[in-house]
Amino acid sequence: MSLFFIVALPFFGALFPGVMNSAGRAACAGVTFTVTLAAFFGLLTNLPQILADDVVTARLDWMPALGLNFTLMLDGLGFFFAFLILGIGLLIIAYARHYLSRDDNMGEFFTYLLLFQGAMVGIVLSDNILLLLVFWELTSLSSFLLIGYWKHLPEGRQGARMALTVTGMGGLAMIGGMLILGQIVGSYDLSVILQNRELIQADPLYVPALLLILLGCFTKSAQFPFHFWLPHAMAAPTPVSAYLHSATMVKAGIFLMARMWPVLSGTPEWFAIVTTAGLVTMVLGALIAIFKHDLKALLAFSTVSHLGLITMLLGTGTAFGAMAAVFHILNHATFKAALFMSAGIVDHETHTRDIRRLGGLRHLMPVTFVIVTLAALSMAGIPFLNGFLSKEMMLEETTHTVLFGLPWLVPSLAVIGSLFSAAYCFRLIGHVFMGPVRDDYPASPHDPGPGLWMPPAILVVLVVAIGVAPFLAEPFVKLVTASLLGGEADVPKAYFKIWHGLVPALYMSVAAVVGGLLLMLIYKPLLHLWETTPRPEAKTIFEGLIEAFAGLARAVTAGLHTGAFTRYAFIGTITILAAGYHAWTTGTLAGTTRELQSAGFVPVAGWLMLVAACGGLVFLHRNRLLSLILIGIVGLMVSVGFVFLSAPDLAMTQFTVEVVTIILLLLALNFLPKRTPIESTVLLRVRDASIAIAGGLASFALAFHYMLRDAVDAPISGFHLANSYKGGGGTNVVNVILVDFRGFDTYGEIIVLGIAALLIYALTETLLNGPVRARLLNRTPDRPVAGDMHPMMMVVLTRVIMPVVLMVGFYIFLRGHNEPGGGFIAGLVVSIAVVMQYMASGFAWTTARLRYPYHGIIGAGVLVAGLTGIGSWFVGKPFLTSDFTYVRIPPFEKFELATAALFDLGVFLAVVGAVMLSLESFSRLARRADMEDSEHPMDIDPSRDDPPQDKAGQMSEGG
């Protein structure tokens, strides 16, 4: 099966469990199992090539310009990890089916699990390091979802957050490291990078790249000092812990170190950092594990310790160390996943994971006892179990490893680590299963059904099989080792044997096991000592650090973002002015190339009105209603100016937008205070005025200089003028630019408009569902309302005029391609027609007659425009390529049919929907409890008993 399918299957499969959720738990688990099984078999079909030492590749160009390609590669190492991921995944899925309770949403769980599985397979099969990074981040995200699967548990949420913070930070560092690596080699393809050991190690950027990549690996694989997140991630459901934290995710860092081993290892830096980190992690993790009372916490720290062991082996940089690491990865995955699942069984049956409350389960849960005992003894390094073999190889390797010039350091620490390791294994068996049967278990324990114990049992069979007959695993491990070494070193000749003779490793092994047993004998005093010794608590430190960073961010944000908008506007204006002044004084000014055009009486009159309105706005803005009228004058003059300056489309748009804007502001003013009080001092106003005048002068100067000079280069408008009819089939160049030449822009803009309208709708909903609702409903208007709520004249007039307006809108829409008009303007015109109905006949009347919701109209508009664009794909053209033809249906004249018109229809619909949704949202706020929603026009509001007092009372009738 193609590698693409193996990677893609879990991702596509992730769609199914959620959909199958209602089909029942078995179906849900079944489909997940099937998907994983398919991927697993797909992987196995590639086995012959792997055995023949071939590398299977699959390539798909994604963004070649960036060096980011979907390149996959399957070699021995990748096969090994993918095999673990999918194989153990199958067991976990079967186990989870029986583990999760009825209250857990199984579809959600399996969706996350498959996403995670796909991301993991993606990591181990990536041939492109950028692609690998994408999958790497995906594992961080999907594991976040999995760890926090029990959302109701605070530990789950905190653990998930901590895991995401730590691994996400490492991921960021790794992106930097990988990019440096790619820059050094000049390619992001792993297969190329792996060929360039000398080039990379000679580069001055080798050390930074190494440090960054190792940071990513160490955080992911929970190496000291980043080991603390793993135990907290144990708040996840046990199948997650068994999968992510024993066999897969924490091995991702190990995998990457193994993958990069040929090019990164062998230098003093690699050796010192990786070996030290591994050793420290191994000893520390094992030590903490001994004193953990939570079953899963014990296993978590033992995982940390074993990951340290593997890291240390990779750090030695020798071929034998690498082989031992590969072997231990295999062994650890088998016994640790079995142990995690068994811990889940114990938890499931006794309802506690606290070792102090357990004991004597040997008789009550014999099957679980056997499984745990075999797996734990393997972890402790007892002969005839697979853990013994790889641990022996590790000890053997340490005797040849000299760190910091001290030949005894690594071996003795390794023995200490193994001793601790043996101790917690014995504790696991002794304190949970041995001893007398107790009568105070939280639940009555007994062995679960085979659905739960079968998956770990299968793994334990492997543990024993490899332990008794190591030669079974030898060829496979050597194959994987060969691909790990990548030709940089030869695969060691050593055979996998239980008995190597009386070698130092054997004595070390015996010392560790005996020491572990002795440690258990004096466990009580040791525990007391441990608990009285003060030691740093990683979680507290982590939370302190996070709090410190958050405090820093808060201080910076609070200092800059004070909520004083006026100050932002002030600073912004000054900055822009300063930048403009700088450009003005340092730049050169070419001579004028255009003549001033004379202005007749009409433009001067219009200008006078505009300037007067602007001045009036400044001086009279405290009267808000008056200032609305004044801004209406400004808008009107701008529209007239557009007409005068050869822009009929703009004039029509500006004019119609003006109407809806004023209506909108009136609706808002209905609630807002009607006057602006005097608050700022004279000094402040003088300051603001001087800034404003400076800004105005600057923009005047800029515009004036601009208009008297021709463009430096010939504008592209000539192209549009020349091709509008030939290429776009329309004579209104502005409209052709909108719907054809720059249709993509327009498409984006109608989407923005739609989003703005939806935002307004959402804000209104929030207001109406919050505490504001009561206040709005019981509001008494601050000025008398009209007694005649729906004046007859207006009602009749608007209803009569409605079809006429719609026809005008239709006409403007249709002629848009050739004459001023088009979807934007038609949309605004039609909106005004509908708004008039709201104003005249009331909200309830209009809403009752409304067949389509405005959201739907926006959506339909965007959809129509988008589908028009997609349509051009079917004829092999790029998105939004337009076409047109002329048809003649007797007795009509010949007319044009253009796909652009369809696009314009989308624009039209989106504009109508957006404008109407905004205005409707505002008017919904105005409904009150004391007013009946009347369906009838021309009704009289009897509450109005006082005569009209002020002329401003007319405003509630609307503009």
């Binding site: 703009l650 800034i691 105005g696 605004l828 505002f922």
Partner: protein, 118 residues
């Protein structure tokens, strides 16, 4: 003509800036609208001013005004309506929620207050 348009832009900018620097939401909204006009007219003027030559192709006409700024400004006008509506909604929501239409956060009693309003 150029002088008239440029000075109109200047006047609208001046009034807009002054209003934007006020302390209540409503004048700020008006100021933003004025700035929108100014910017739109400025962008429009970047096609230079042409009288009586609309960009509608005719057989017997050879000079046209620059259509490109017009197309860009047309969408800008519609979008600015959407944006104005959003600001109005936000300010309205703020006013209804707190009975206060100041644009700046008001100083509250307590350690958090830094009533630094310019």
């Amino acid at each position: 003509m150029e002088f008239l348009v440029a000075s109109a832009i200047g006047a609208m900018t001046t009034a807009g800036l002054y209003l934007v620097l006020r302390l209540r939401t409503f004048p700020v909204i008006l100021g933003m609208s004025l700035l929108t006009y100014a910017v739109n007219v400025f962008l429009f003027a970047s096609g230079r001013l042409t009288i009586g030559a609309p960009p509608i192709l005719r057989d017997d006409v050879s000079t046209y005004t620059d259509p490109l700024p017009q197309a860009l400004v047309l969408t800008a006008i519609v979008i600015s309506f959407g944006m104005t509506a959003v600001i109005v909604m936000i300010s309205l929501g703020a006013f209804l929620g707190s009975d206060d239409d100041h644009v700046d956060d008001q100083a509250e009693p307590g350690p958090q207050s830094d009533g630094d309003r310019s």
